[in-house]
């Protein structure tokens, strides 16, 4: 099969969990990577080495362990900056996950700055956003008296751009959208939308939570002013996410959380704040997690993001073909693998996703059932929930075969033949 990672078996060996067997001795078939990815040994080892040999607080601790920990933490910032093509390492802010990063953006936009959102202003999102890119903007617009608007979707699961000129207007202060949909798989034309948004002077926030694991990300080419992703989906640990922002924007936004590390001078009466990135990193940061994330993006870089993208596309195409053979199965979103990411949500006539998920689970196949934190996208297509398979760089065609067989088995178990 064309496009697969040439060293797929070697890559799989890097991920210890893939050797696991589940109840009944079933080998694990992990098809839930859009939910969270598995971790290669090098990421786990980097964290263990840090905790066993270099653990200290950073910046403020000036002893040898402190210097080692600080170096390791800041090296991770360099690795992330390189991974996303950030013009400056100072533009890379560590958060706790993508959700916090999006809330950081939405919250700081509520407060005084050249970008402040106020009554009468509009924020534009899309109907295919993850809840984490919906609720923060609902809260922002509710709290500031601004209005939330959104792009609808076509029947094919694309953004409906036909009304773009009436949606993105002089009133638009922020356009926030996902690069790759976690529910529909759709890859959005972020650069094109960013161009339109910039014409009216709006700020562009890109949720790259599903893009960063799957595509080469170049923050400058993306057109984003702010771009976020989450560590645990790029083979990194939980507890860490990334917000990248253009220097001019980050420098002008007010601080988000207050506390240690984000200050310059604290007096009881008032305080001054550090420059970026520290201004946005209050408190002890996720240090061991940054070390793990640094190892993770270096690992992905070594495998090669182009190669990973090609692998994902090959697996996705193979999966779409396989799923098409299952009677009564309907895929949400684009059915052309070249137009989409590797998360495929589908319905299967006569079996509720929970039940399907359970049947697959008894065969060792891990998929997700529900609305995948994208309830509005499901509502748009009149479905309450779907089953979602999502692949990653360690996914084999054989695992897709196992899924398709599992679906056939579920149909026969529930007597649908």
């Amino acid at each position: 099969m064309d496009g697969l990672l040439p060293d797929l078996e070697v890559v799989r060996k890097d991920f210890p969990i893939l050797e696991r067997t589940l109840a009944g001795g079933m080998p694990l078939v992990y098809l839930d990577s859009a939910n969270t990815s598995q971790k290669p040994q090098c990421v786990i080892d980097a964290m263990v080495d840090h905790l066993e040999h270099h653990n200290a607080n950073i910046a403020r601790a000036m002893h040898q362990l402190g210097a080692e920990a600080t170096q390791a933490f800041e090296d991770a910032r360099d690795a992330v900056a390189a991974f996303i093509g950030a013009p400056s390492r100072d533009e890379v802010i560590f958060t706790k996950n993508a959700s916090e990063a999006l809330n950081l953006a939405a919250n700081t936009l509520a407060w005084a700055s050249p970008y402040q959102v106020g009554p009468g202003d509009e924020v534009v999102i899309t109907e295919m956003e993850h809840h984490s890119n919906i609720v923060p903007w609902q809260l922002l617009t509710q709290r500031t008296g601004a209005t939330l608007r959104w792009f609808g979707l076509t029947d094919e699961g694309q953004l409906d751009l036909s009304g773009i000129d009436s949606l993105i207007t002089e009133r638009t202060k922020v356009v926030s959208l996902t690069w790759v949909s976690n529910a529909l798989g759709t890859i959005n034309p972020v650069a094109e939308i960013a161009r339109r948004a910039h014409e009216v002077g709006a700020l562009v926030v890109v949720d790259a939570s599903q893009a960063a694991p799957q595509l080469p990300v170049d923050v400058v080419a993306s057109g984003a002013d702010i771009l976020v992703f989450t560590g645990h989906k790029v083979v990194g640990p939980t507890g860490i996410g990334v917000l990248w922002g253009r220097r001019e924007v980050l420098e002008q936004l007010p601080p988000f959380l207050g506390g240690g590390e984000m200050i310059e001078t604290v007096r009881m009466e008032a305080s001054t704040y550090a420059g970026i990135p520290h201004k946005f990193e209050a408190g002890t940061p996720p240090i061991a997690e940054a070390v793990g994330l640094g190892a993770a993006v270096r690992y992905l870089g070594d495998v090669g993001m182009e190669a990973i993208q090609a692998h994902e596309q090959a697996i996705t195409a193979y999966a779409l073909d396989g799923l098409a053979t299952v009677p009564g199965l309907k895929v949400l979103g684009p059915t052309d693998a070249a137009l989409r990411g590797g998360a495929i949500s589908f319905e299967l006539d006569g079996i509720h996703p929970h039940d399907l998920q359970t049947v697959l689970d008894t065969r060792g196949i891990a998929v997700r059932a529900g609305h995948h934190c994208a309830r509005p996208a499901h509502e748009r297509f009149g479905v309450q929930s779907t089953t979602r398979m999502s692949s990653y760089l360690y996914t084999t065609p054989g695992e897709i075969d196992a899924l398709v067989e599992g679906l056939e088995y579920a149909r026969s178990y529930f007597r649908l033949d």
Binding site: H352, T358, T362, Q384
Partner: protein
């Protein structure tokens, strides 16, 4: 992880032919419960007679076989019973579901609901089985509170 222990005939029967489904009048309280992780939903109404009997429980629900069947079985069990007794059944069912498969169900009390014993071994599905039961308890508590206070 034995599928047949989860999907017992009784459950599948209730799933295909749910009892007491649909929203009816009269009712004292209506509640809407959601399983936020998957989106399963139930809207449920209770009608408690002046003598403290559960006169009716009606509902509308979207969800999987387990959540649908559980709603159906629940209504069978509580309708016509004094509220106190119905609450005891609720407790018993809750204990069974949260028992991780180690609790022996009392068939006298739980009747068809003993078929859900297998669910307790599928931790992710316990919430499905409990959705309508929790909604019923909530609605009933509200009814009694409104009546007594």
């Amino acid at each position: 992880m034995d599928l047949d222990s989860l999907y017992q005939e009784i459950i599948l029967d209730h799933y295909k032919n749910p009892h007491h489904k649909g929203l009816r009048e009269p009712f004292e309280a209506e509640v809407h419960h959601v399983n936020p992780t998957c989106g399963d939903e139930v809207t449920l109404r209770v009608h408690v007679g002046d003598d403290g009997t559960v006169d009716d429980v009606s509902y509308d629900a979207v969800g999987c076989s387990i959540s649908q069947a559980s709603a159906s079985v629940m209504t069978d069990l509580v309708i016509g019973k004094p509220v106190d007794e119905a609450m005891t059944i609720h407790e018993e069912f809750l204990a069974l579901m949260q028992g991780k498969g180690a609790v022996e169900p009392d068939e006298e009390v739980l009747e068809d609901a003993v078929a859900f014993s297998g669910v307790a071994k599928f931790p992710a599905r316990v919430k499905c089985a409990l959705l309508s039961w929790m909604a019923w308890k909530d609605a009933t508590t509200r009814t009694l509170e409104a009546r007594n206070g």
